[in-house]
């Protein structure tokens, strides 16, 4: 029965998706409360089994406690809003001011992006780091696309070496972030379908040529606008407390930005350049929660093999 309480606490811990700096303190406090409660109930004459049942009943449901904890800790401050919206905003400005064709600006922005992503990754992966991380994946995709333009022999080499390696590295990053919270994976990947949508819209022939560059020039303010929309959405996301609102916001803003991109560039929505990225957007929205489910199944399987005492720091003494 004590094992039930350990699992109860462990379920709260995994469902509350706390920051690793806050987590030990909160879980220690809940554990102390349960210990006090159990002590009082057994002192009053209840058996261990009855005391455990009563304790869990009076504590409340795992779902409710985890939701309340999440909402108490999920809201970021205004500094975090600024930090999280900044990469979208920067890319928006680059296009709105038509600076995208100056290599020095692009290089500076990409360096800043990579620097911020590395800094945040090494400092506890706060919520603001994930948009930066998403943009720092762009050079990886760009190199992949360039490889496709190489002469057939080299292009084939790129396909069998570069793509599996880049895919493996990418998947590792997504898994690590999903272990923290799948919503952060979605937040990281959010601009990718929009960028792919714009890319497909400006390359109707499938190749980057003079006409594509002219189209980028023509649509630059709109491209900038879609990035600004993402900046606004991510800023709002950081301030929201409720998880369901956060999920809805990402879904709506991603699909809206994509729709605007493709409609402005092609004048219609029933085309491969829209349906392809829409499927990509759904993958971005659905893949992380499905991946998280698989990862959790693996976690519970490996935990079931352990004896109760081995389970870890949240064990009830």
């Amino acid at each position: 029965m004590i094992h039930d309480l350990t699992q109860y606490l462990e379920s709260i811990r995994t469902s509350a998706r706390l920051d690793r700096n806050d987590e030990p303190c909160i879980m220690r406090e809940l554990k102390a409360h349960i210990e006090d409660k159990l002590h009082e109930l057994t002192e009053s004459g209840l058996s261990e089994e009855e005391a455990t049942k009563t304790c869990m009943g009076q504590m409340g449901s795992i779902k409710e406690i985890a939701r309340e904890i999440y909402e108490a800790y999920s809201q970021g401050n205004w500094k975090q809003v600024l930090m999280a919206a900044m990469p979208h905003f920067t890319f928006g400005v680059i296009f709105m001011l038509n600076w995208w064709h100056y290599p020095q600006w692009l290089a500076a922005v990409l360096l800043l992006t990579a620097g911020m992503a590395l800094y945040g990754w090494g400092h506890g992966k706060p919520a603001w780091v994930f948009p930066w991380l998403g943009y720092s994946l762009l050079p990886v995709i760009a190199v992949g696309l360039l490889l496709l333009y190489l002469p057939t022999k080299w292009s084939f080499l790129g396909l069998i070496i570069y793509f599996p390696l880049a895919g493996w590295w990418f998947l590792r990053i997504v898994i690590q972030i999903t272990q923290k919270d799948w919503l952060f994976s979605t937040m990281m990947l959010l601009p990718l379908p929009v960028i792919i949508g714009w890319f497909m819209a400006i390359t109707p022939s499938g190749r980057i040529d003079e006409k594509s560059l002219e189209m980028v020039n023509e649509y630059a303010p709109w491209i900038g606008l879609t990035f600004m929309m993402l900046a606004f959405s991510i800023g709002t996301f950081i301030r929201l407390r409720q998880r369901w609102l956060r999920v809805s916001l990402l879904a709506i803003s991603g699909l809206l930005a994509l729709t605007i991109a493709v409609y402005l560039a092609t004048g219609r929505l029933v085309s491969a350049s829209f349906i392809g990225p829409v499927l990509g957007m759904w993958a971005v929205l659905l893949m992380p929660p499905l991946l998280e489910r698989q990862l959790k199944k693996g976690f519970w399987r490996s935990n079931k093999k352990k004896t109760p005492g081995e389970t870890n720091e949240t064990a009830i003494i």
Partner: protein, 109 residues
């Protein structure tokens, strides 16, 4: 009779601040004290007490400090802050005005 859930949720901040006014307490003690002072009327789902306390702490209305007990266990004690006292005073006035107005309507003289 049990209080309506919405009513309890809406008043939980005032209740917690009121309990902590003048007395340092830890979570389990707060639950017991609330139950005793309200003669069993108010009962928190105990697990949801901590998010409520942490929200108050984030707003600067209360502060907390960990204490190491003689038996090696740790306990987090909560205190009301000056900002918390000012908020409590405001909320008390609002509650009393509201209570008086409701009484005037429900029990006319």
């Amino acid at each position: 009779m049990e209080p309506k859930r919405d009513l309890l949720k809406g008043s939980s901040n005032s209740l917690l601040l009121s309990l902590l006014d003048g007395k340092t307490m830890y979570g389990y003690q707060i639950v017991k004290e609330l139950e005793a002072r309200s003669q069993g009327y108010f009962k928190f789902k105990e697990g949801t007490l901590y998010p409520a306390l942490h929200r108050l702490e984030k707003s600067g209305l209360i502060s907390s400090k960990w204490e190491l007990l003689a038996n090696g266990r740790q306990r987090r004690n909560y205190n009301i802050t000056a900002k918390g006292r000012a908020t409590l005073a405001q909320e008390k006035t609002q509650w009393l005005d509201f209570f008086n107005a409701i009484s005037l309507v429900l029990q006319p003289k």
